[in-house]
Amino acid sequence: MTTQHIQLTEHGRLKHFLSIEGLSKELLTEILDTSESYADMSGKQIKKVPLLRGKTIINLFFENSTRTRTTFELAAARLSADVITMNIATSSTAKGESLLDTIRNLEAMHVDMFIVRHALSGAAYFIAEHAAPHISVINAGDGQHAHPTQAMLDMFTIRQYKKRFEGLKVAIVGDILHSRVARSQIQALNTLGVEEVRVIAPKTLLPNQVRQMGVIDFHDMEEGLSGVDVIIMLRLQKERMNSAFLPSESEYFRCFGLTEAKLKHAKPDVMVMHPGPINRGVEIASTVADGPHSVILQQVSNGVAVRMAIMSMIISSSGGGA
């Protein structure tokens, strides 16, 4: 019951990056270590390395995104790859071209890597399974399934501030049910060995049998935040109000919005994270988002380094490093 076999080479190296599931602590740690060397580089005058020179990467976005797409583009460019972004949401699939036809056509252009975002769970996995053998796939978010690069940049940020995972208590707050980010974060945090992962949300926004995912569930913010080292807030989609998941934004903010008052229940050195884009006054108060505990912008900066690390590890494990 894992996606592990397809994303690793026979030597256990990264072939694709589709999900955190099935990846070892050692491999995740290696991603974080590699990211660190790229993070150091971002501060330098010349930000480019020739590692992926001559490689062609296609950003295949079947769903809109600004931040993720941009950081992938930057990461590819800094590794000297040729990178093209295609917003398929508005192109050929609208004309009835199937997912597989799109992939076949792009393959014919001698592509080395696809970075895929899609609205359906399992889409990146499907593409990895059906693409030509020399092509690698990075999942940039598929439906409600996984967003593993986001999870890794969050892990990187946590390690940057906390220097360790052992003994940490982490709370993820908000729409866990629909969140691919949360699913990947939960798997990464547990693999890296934090003490406790908590999810805090009303039952309408929690998946069935959530404890089997390796978390403890809370429906009360103050209780759930008590003594935690890290708080990860999730974005609340406005359409949740229309389909009876929640009564109103204001009631949600009252119960589950992160305010300075609620923050006091966490440890004094708690760090506050958010994968963005944030809804001020819905899931998080501006004073917290911009306050001393917030590392939200640092997460964005780290996004480039972590994505560079993952791309370079994939290309080097396929034996194609320049």
Binding site: M1, T2, T3, E21, S98, L99, L100, H118, L120, S121, G122, A123, Y125, F126, H130, D142, G143, Q144, H145, A146, R180, R183, P207, N208, Q209, V210, Q212, M213
Partner: protein, 430 residues
Amino acid sequence: MKKILIKNGHIIDPLNQRDETGDLCIAGGTILSIADTAGFHPDLVIDAAEQIVCPGFIDLSVCLREPGHTQKGTIASETRAAAAAGVTSLCLPPDTRPCIDTPAVVELIKDRADKAGYPRIHPIGALTQRLAGTELSGMFALKQSGCIAVSNANQPLANLLILRRAMEYASSHNLLLIYRANEFSLSAGGCAHEGAFASRYGLPGIPEAAESIALAQCLELAELTGCRVHINQISCKHSVIKIQQAKKYGANVSADVAIHQLHLTEEDMTPFDSAYHVLPPFRGEIDRKYLRDALANGTVDAISSAHQPHDLDAKLGAFPDTEPGVAALETLLPLLLNLTRQQVLTLPQAIASLTQKPAKILGLPVGHLSPGAPADVCVFDPQASWTVDNENWLSAGKNTPYWGQTLTGRVTHTLQNGSLIFRLAAAENS
């Protein structure tokens, strides 16, 4: 018509409680008296030593995909698969295109069935016009033209009042209602059982309650209207409990379960493998246990294949985007025998769930080997193993989780109305 002798087989005929080695004589399309072997001069002898001889299987739900979806299968291709599966009577759900809501479509199907040399296709008429769930179909005309029952297949009814009226009207014409329990407001958008697997892989879930709530409503209305109801393809513990209660209070209701639901659970699913995309979805271990027990104690009456062949494209895509359904005819017997090997059912019980029981539900004169009965017979080798691959597969749909696996139990001969409609190539010499 040929005179056929099936000799030395292990005859299992649940209705007549026969379970013994013996010979079966067939002439004029019917079963002859058992004692008649002396003086019987057959045109064809089938040596059934080491094999089981039983009534041909009656399948409550087989999608043939014709008319309308012939890229997935045709009456010719799927009846060949049915014959190879030992199935001699099958019910065709009404969701063809056009759907079975006029006698003309019934005529077309009957005509194609005759041409395919497989006359025992029993079309199920649409309960509502175009299956749209709002206006009643011409059920009397459908019955006159040969529909065995009425159903709305997987399509929703506008509201409970339509279901009530449809039940009242169907029962006025003594028509059986075949009902698939699904509360659409609870299952909409779902593609997997709402459980640990769906949570983990971020797949939109379908809770058991979507089925058991619709089932409870249907049972209440059956009580109110006196309509005879058969519940098709139940999948969960709570449905079993509801049917058990209804039967305890004397309700005129029967139920079946799809063969794969008795074997696979969400735990068995390979992530994002569309071969496992099926409705109702593969449930939990506890549900499977309840379904198996229910079959053993008679709460659930019958097993169906719920055969739904698909073309390759229908199963090629991101999991939620693929079409649900399993091509299940040809794995029916080996999976049935697995239930006996796992001691869920005795062999006569297993065979009854595909013969005597569905015949009773449908009011058909087949499903047993009594003298004078139509000679619908299945002969199978319970020990023969075979691999689910291109060489052995007849259905146009290759969408099965068992593809590539080696299964045990294989039909060698199928007789329909005294004619041999299938003989396994390896059994040519017999």
